[in-house]
Symmetry: C2
Subunit: 340 residues, 2 copies
């Protein structure tokens, strides 16, 4: 069967086009890859590939360029995962090792990912809904003002200031602190809502209003804050692809600055180590129809806490990018599992 050779031709076209950014012709192809046939034969194969929609020619007398369908076939059946070089691995560990807290881990990760892939990196904060309460602290700022600090098992710290209807004494606060912690520590944030509701029962009627305000703020902050945060880095790399984006890079950058867009971009959670690749129009957004997204979940152990990935032009080194994204995700996962 010559099905095999046709796929080989497609692979060669993708690789050459990614490397050179120029339409690739039949002659160049036989020269650079040692397929043992003549240009004319390749031309026939190309004609078939074009008919099937995997490649296209920009102008009548130009070489071929992969279509989105072509890239899709390439990543599904032809591309492997290019492992990182030892130097890159070392760079990852050195760079991430120095992080002091969660914010720092995320900030370093996004810079690292951008640097290694030379593309735009996107990293989502570990999901609060999947993590558990490690400690809840109540601090009296003024007699009727209380600051609420929630510390999670993933090392994230959330804070809120609460205005109480009546002054709150230190004794009451200590009592409340004890009960709230007893009711919540070790529990997942998603289950905490129900647990907290009954805490108010144990208090004197006079204190109820204040207690209720604190508790409701607590629940609200746990629920609301589970709206995930996303950070972005390496946008400078976008400009390297100037002409890869037909309508300039501006709409792409604009889209990337929308938090909501970023969230959707990374996609739904999948099994760990399962890399998702979205090519061109596969991301629903018009502005990103010339871009591809490579993303993967990360977390400690089997649990996927959040996702990270990169955004680049459709014409992208998929094996290399997939390898880098995967490696960084593994490393961050390990780091989060051991540290805080």
């Amino acid at each position: 069967m010559h099905e095999d050779r046709r796929l080989e031709v497609l692979r060669a076209i993708v690789e050459d086009y990614v490397a050179t950014n120029e339409p690739v012709g039949s002659r160049a192809l036989v020269e650079r890859h040692h397929l043992g046939v003549s240009p004319a034969t390749i031309r026939n194969d190309m004609a078939v590939l074009e008919e099937e929609g995997y490649i296209a020619q920009p102008h009548t007398s130009a070489g071929r360029v992969p279509t989105e369908l072509g890239y899709r076939l390439f990543v599904d059946r032809l591309a492997g995962v290019k492992p990182l070089s030892p130097a890159e691995r070392r760079a990852i560990s050195v760079f991430l090792e120095g992080a002091v807290d969660l914010d720092d881990v995320i900030a370093r990760t996004v810079r690292l990912l951008a640097q290694v892939t030379r593309q735009v990196a996107v990293v989502q904060y570990p999901s609060l809904t999947r993590s558990a309460v490690r400690h809840i602290e109540l601090v009296r700022l003024t007699p009727s003002r209380v600051m609420l600090v929630v510390i999670t098992t993933t090392g994230r710290v959330e804070q809120r200031v609460v205005d109480c209807p009546a002054p709150v004494g230190e004794d009451l606060l200590a009592d409340l602190r004890g009960r709230v912690n007893a009711a919540t520590v070790g529990r997942r944030l998603t289950e905490v809502g129900d647990q907290v509701a009954s805490v108010a029962d144990g208090f004197a009627p006079d204190d109820r209003p204040s207690v209720l305000v604190v508790l409701s703020t607590l629940v609200e902050s746990l629920v609301e804050q589970s709206e995930e945060r996303v950070v972005l880095g390496g946008t400078a790399n976008l400009t390297r692809f100037g002409q890869d984006f037909p309508r300039s890079v501006q709409p792409v950058l604009e889209a990337l600055e929308e938090q909501v867009v970023l969230m959707r971009l990374l996609g739904e959670a999948t099994a760990p180590e399962r890399v998702t690749v979205r090519i061109g129009h596969e991301n629903r957004l018009e502005q990103l129809s010339a871009a591809s997204v490579v993303s993967v979940g990360y977390g400690s152990g089997d649990e996927v806490l959040a996702r990270l990935g990169v955004v680049g032009p459709t014409r992208m080194d998929y094996p290399g990018t997939i390898g880098a994204v995967l490696a960084v995700a593994r490393y961050v996962g390990r780091l989060l599992a051991e540290s805080p």
Copy 2:
């Protein structure tokens, strides 16, 4: 004197060039601004301005363009502060009002500033060195592991995990918590170092090692974390100026992604409400030699806590930008003064 008219000509050149992005000639000048003289006269004035270094012509037969010196003179002597429109003011208050915590305030501010000025916005977190300790919390994670949480008067929360050489009991921790808070609450972070040193004296010799580790981590985190954080937004706006940056926007973006660069960019603290404008080579960085930075300090009351500003092409609407930066800084300052 015709000194006056020459300045008027410079103003007109700057305004027209900012508006059109094209070298402005003598004829166009007399048409658009009603200077009551002929093009030939303007040409003479232009010749003088060119000799003095305020304007230049890109090619022999082209109109004039302001030089950095020209912009400098414009900003110093000709430009006022363009007040914002009521709609813009309303937008600012609505947008910032919804913030729930410090991170949120900063994130919203940077987006707002980018949107209003349509340029790249830079906002520095309120300086820790200038703020004071509101509360220090110690949480036992495991028998020998303690989490340290510092809450400052500016609403910032810093956290560290400490590994102690020996198990730490709840009693010891409570004792330590009390003493540390007594020694630090209300004091500026910069003075705290000395105060903390003597806290260890009050403990039993057996406990000393653990106490010392906690205290040293505390001091370290207070000192180290006073290295300020800076956030960036609106980079999409950079691409609007494509040809304003000779060597493409890439080096500019790269420079802006360096935290250290950003820090220096905003410059030293100045009196409140005092806007700093750095034009082209006035920022020391080669990569930003085609950019201007407009920045100002913000804070509560007379105290300047940090700075914010925007980065754009030298060819920039200075009065409008200065107005916007100032307005946002005032608003954020007020917000920080009342809220946490």
